[in-house]
């Protein structure tokens, strides 16, 4: 097995009185899909945010590609999120003023890709995610499933190494949820991206290669022998 892509160890994080993470640990290999499961409030999202360099843990180590995210400057982490990570959330992630195409092109533009080229690539991803028809529409004018596929397209457009998805199908019906998961995992496999998938739905988690359970801020790594 090759060296892990992202390793987190001994993560602690508290919000005021609430302890959200206690000695959490996680390892993600190149190209694998890891489901993070656990009951509500167990610390899944916090773990995901830590792994993605959005939230700084109080203690612990998160190494991506040989660099420790915990000690990294905010600017460096932002750059990393821009270039190496992609994000899909439950909802409310598209900029309402921009068209879907512009939304997908946004990460590229943030990475200084010229507008024309960025929008062209964005268009290809919309096609790939089977939502070409909404390219010119605003997020308010598309369905939840379409919006979510646009979000997946946006997460993938920079060809990130890791995609972080927090309840990506949470607001969708089964059919659309499955569709988003199928497209997300297929695209991730094709581009070699690893996926960290926070979900509470077993059928969604079944798209993963492996699961990690979080309870009361602790991770349980269940390496069940096949």
């Amino acid at each position: 097995m090759s060296a892990p892509l992202l390793v987190a160890e001994g993560l602690y994080r508290r919000f005021g009185e609430t302890v959200a993470l206690v000695d959490a640990a996680l390892r993600i290999d190149e190209g694998e899909v890891v489901a993070v499961l656990g009951s509500s409030g167990s610390g899944k999202s916090t773990l995901l945010h830590c792994l993605a360099g959005i939230v700084r843990p109080d203690r612990g180590r998160i190494v991506f590609d040989g660099q420790d995210l915990v000690t990294m400057s905010d600017a460096r982490r932002s750059a990393l999120r821009r270039d190496a990570f992609g994000f899909v959330f439950q909802f409310g992630q598209l900029v309402p003023e921009l068209t879907c195409l512009e939304n997908v092109a946004l990460p590229l533009r943030l990475a200084r890709v010229p507008r024309r080229a960025a929008e062209q690539r964005a268009g290809q991803w919309l096609e790939r995610l089977e939502v070409t028809e909404v390219a010119g529409k605003r997020p308010g004018e598309v369905s939840g499933g379409q919006g979510q596929r646009v979000a997946v397209a946006r997460a993938l457009v920079t060809r990130p190494r890791v995609i972080f998805a927090d309840e990506p199908t949470g607001a969708l019906d089964s059919l659309n949820g499955e569709r988003v998961m199928r497209l997300l995992t297929e695209a991730a496999r094709d581009t070699g991206a690893a996926v960290v998938l926070v979900t509470h739905e077993a059928r969604v988690a079944a798209y993963s290669d492996r699961e990690v359970v979080v309870r009361d801020g602790r991770t349980r790594n269940l390496e069940v022998a096949a």
């Binding site: 499961l37 077993a202 079944a206 699961e211 309870r215």
Partner: protein, 180 residues
């Protein structure tokens, strides 16, 4: 279902004994209370099971009180019995429909014996997920008929898991009831 029950009744008794040594009638009463539902276990079944466990060295007679009848003996679990229960609890059940009775039994026993019921659920979930992953993979590669069949199984397995999760969430409530 009954087969399943019979298969696990020994472990269930062991679990009940792990909390404290009991007389046969006490075991029966407890069993009926938690797991018997509409079908209480027969006395004969109780003593047959206990003697099987005694033979297997999983329980021992802790004390014999003076007097008549089979109820004079008080049984206690042995070291080997504790191990047996632990192994049983830690072993995920083969995912299949209508599993909840066994899982329920396991959850209650785990609580009764002061074990982490959540652990058990995690193990079981992992087992379920493994099967569900297989089904998902098959679904992805299969034709429509295959997909529909897989979906059917997936939804059932998910229902089981959901129930399991709900149970986990209610552990506190349950614990209070069980320890009463």
């Amino acid at each position: 279902m009954c087969i399943v029950l019979r298969m696990s009744i020994g472990q269930t008794f062991l679990g009940l004994l792990e909390a404290t040594p009991r007389h046969g009638y006490d075991i029966k009463r407890r069993y009926d209370e938690h797991f018997g539902h509409a079908r209480p276990v027969a006395y004969g079944q109780v003593y047959a099971t206990l003697s099987r466990l005694l033979r297997g060295g999983l329980v021992e007679v802790e004390a014999v009180e003076p007097g008549e009848g089979p109820d004079r003996k008080r049984y206690a679990i042995t070291e080997a019995g504790v191990t047996d229960v632990a192994q049983w609890l830690a072993r995920p059940e083969q995912p299949e429909p209508y599993l909840q009775s066994v899982l329920y039994t396991k959850v209650v026993l785990a609580l009764l014996t002061g074990r982490q019921a959540a652990e058990l659920l995690d193990v079981q979930r992992a087992e379920h997920l493994r099967l569900m992953r297989d089904l998902t993979r098959r679904k992805r590669d299969g034709d429509l008929a295959e997909q529909l069949i897989c979906d059917h199984a997936l939804f059932h397995l998910e229902a089981d898991l959901r129930w399991l999760e709900l149970t986990t969430a209610r552990l506190d409530e349950l614990a209070a009831q069980v320890r009463r």
